[in-house]
Amino acid sequence: MQAQTRNRQWPWVAIVLSLAVAFTLSMVSPADSVQGDLVRIMYVHVPAAWLAYLAFFVTFVGSVGYLITKDLRWDRIAAASAEIGVYFTGLAIALGMIWAKPTWGVWWTWDARLTLTAIMFFVYLGYLALRRTTDDPVVRAGRSSVLGVLGALQIPLVHFSVVWWRTLHQPPSLVRPDGPAIQDPLMLTALTVGVLAFTVVYGSLMVKRIELIKLDDRKVAIEQSIERPVAGEAVTVPDLGASS
């Protein structure tokens, strides 16, 4: 019983601990010479964007896995990851807008990275909407896995948009062929720890969400197995006294 409780609690402990470390580091890191304290938004914005890519890539892997094996475990991974991905894409967009207003003077600009990220957000919102159209786990998995593969076409387009087009958005901060763009070691550490902390959050949420989807599938299966009275069963043939 105690071990079970421990198992249930570790994801939350991991989330709190990793976020606490990331938050502390982002607060002690120096302010930027140009942006000032606004730069601290980056410590959440960049990890949230990273999680969005990671989550949607896992959705792609889960979808391909399901299409090949027909094993529902792959579908649960894909679905859980898409939900987390949509949440963190929304967070990345919202934080980007908060940062953009004082920096660029507008909440939104028609920059390739921003626009494509918003489009990616809607693709996966559609994926989640599609999953809500049926309760049958097998039908749901089959349909959504095709969309999971199709939607993944957007991921490289979003990531490389800042390289392929001339955009207002900064090029990648960490993953670059010539090394990270950030020179200050404390800022780089804070950002790297932030990315790792968010990855822990992702892993923990995935464990919990997959567990929930499994329980939900079981609930639907139980509901479907319960025998219910057939419509019209209460209606009986009227006795018109023909026998007498």
Binding site: L67, L116, T133, T134, G142, R143, V146, V149
Partner: protein
């Protein structure tokens, strides 16, 4: 793919076009709806001729994307479950069914593009430049939209949301086609090469076609 495959696909095209001739969904509903949309835009943004000439090509492609979805989805989701079962029992290859539905949607989309295009040229005074490339762009966009609509139509077919969900799925996925089409026109206007945009659209078309053919059977079996 055998001769039987193409024969079956041709039979599906014939059936869809016959159904369209009888019902006239595209001809009498979608095309007038698209034309009305082109008529409404100037009322909202202003009737300045220079402004309309500038936004005309973009508006035309947006209308093609949004209303084109209705054309391709209509063809994909017209089949009821008993009809699908009958097709399966008759031995219709799901992949050839997909190709057939996408082909008939392409043909109807081309008609839609041409009629709405004439309306757009008339209303917005759009200059027609680089006709051979323009025709190539129109054909690729029609094929791409038809494939996307047919594929997503198959995905949502017989779900509780039905066709209401399709525009949400197709609109974001058709962005590379919209970008390719609008940038191609801009490139032609400025005298630049539009090969890279055409290749982008062709790549999208090929990827969606491959996914559609490969997933036709699993989607039909659900």
């Amino acid at each position: 793919m055998t001769t039987g495959f193409w024969h079956q696909a041709a039979a599906v095209v014939h059936r869809d076009l016959l159904r369209e001739r009888r019902r006239g969904d595209v001809l009498w509903i979608t095309i007038p709806f698209g034309a009305i949309a082109l008529l409404l835009v100037p009322l909202a943004v202003g009737t300045d001729a220079i402004l309309l000439r500038q936004i005309g090509p973009g508006m035309y492609w947006v209308i093609v994307m949004l209303f084109g979805v209705l054309v391709s989805v209509g063809k994909a989701s017209n089949e009821t479950l008993p009809q699908q079962d009958a097709s399966a029992l008759l031995g219709l290859d799901p992949a050839s069914g997909f190709v057939g539905r996408a082909t008939s949607a392409t043909l109807l989309l081309l008609i839609f593009e041409m009629v709405v295009g004439v309306v757009a040229v008339g209303l917005y005074d759009i200059s027609i430049i680089g006709i051979p490339w323009l025709i190539v762009t129109l054909i690729i966009v029609a094929i791409g939209l038809a494939l996307l609509g047919t594929l997503t139509g198959s995905i949502v077919n017989s779900t509780s949301a039905g066709t209401a969900l399709v525009p949400l799925l197709v609109a974001p996925l058709s962005v590379p086609l919209l970008l390719g089409a609008t940038q191609s026109y801009e490139g032609l206007r400025l005298g630049h090469s539009i090969l890279s945009w055409v290749l982008l659209m062709v790549a999208v078309v090929l990827i969606v076609a491959i996914i559609g053919v490969l997933t036709a059977r699993p989607l039909q079996e659900m």
